[in-house]
Subunit: 123 residues, 2 copies
DNA sequence: ACCAAAAGTAGTAATAATTCCTATTTTTAT
DNA sequence: ATAAAAATAGGAATTATTACTACTTTTGGT
């Protein structure tokens, strides 16, 4: 993977997010910094970075993919009321143990919990 | 949820699949049985059925959602080479234990493993 | 069985999300 | 300095999904 200024900018901008933006949301911020950056470049790099394990791709919230710069191992909670993604620490979850290593080489995994967050429950 | 012939047909057709089709793939089969069924109806019902826990929505393979009629608890393996979804039984995985029940009411969860399947490894 | 309200649908339009394409630019290794 | 490889910009094209509206079906009460 050769260096590219654009990829650096994309990664750097993603890191400024506390939430987990999708490509469109991220594009707005990236575009503020570099008017010439293209959507193709954004998508290409987000997918590349995710494949390399430098960022995480989160699916399941809506029809778009969301991205997480946090590579420290953790899982995700999706509130189906307010449509927000919350992080959940590994420590509160038992690590899945697979007996399938011979059949499938696991490179990454995510656990996505769906439900209602505290805030929405109290409404 | 009122009865609808179309929803029955969609569910019945999904159950004929061993693999995990996306809406488009399913539409082809459903459309063979009922020429008048619309995409809107398909999407509406797939999402409804998934929300009710009657079927499972699987995200993460590509930009489309895939669906699984198998409600028996299990997780998923996605091969990033051949782009196929494999089922993995609960028995081979420790059930995630959450300490967050007070903060988040979990309604469902899925574990998505990504990696290379045996077949693709042997190539 | 009849009927009104509620729920659901068909068909199509619109939007959103993502990928593809090509000429140009940048990076990298020599 | 330079050529090959990798990456980008910009826009077109495609794919996936949702929205809209008039019409049809379901349901529960009579």
């Amino acid at each position: 993977m050769n260096y590219s200024r654009q990829r650096e900018l994309i990664l750097e901008t993603l890191k400024e997010y506390a939430i987990h933006p999708n490509a469109e949301e991220l594009y707005i911020k990236v575009h503020e910094k570099d008017k010439n950056i293209s959507k193709g470049t954004l998508y290409r790099n987000l997918n590349r970075l995710a494949k390399e394990g430098i960022i995480k791709k989160i699916d399941g919230l809506d029809s778009s993919s969301h991205f997480d710069h946090n590579i420290h191992e953790h899982y995700h909670l999706i509130c189906t009321k307010c449509n927000r993604i919350f992080d959940i620490e590994k420590e509160t979850t038992q690590i899945p143990q697979l007996n399938i290593e011979n059949d499938f080489k696991v490179l990454s995994y995510d656990i996505i919990f769906k439900g209602i967050c505290k805030e929405c429950s109290n409404k």
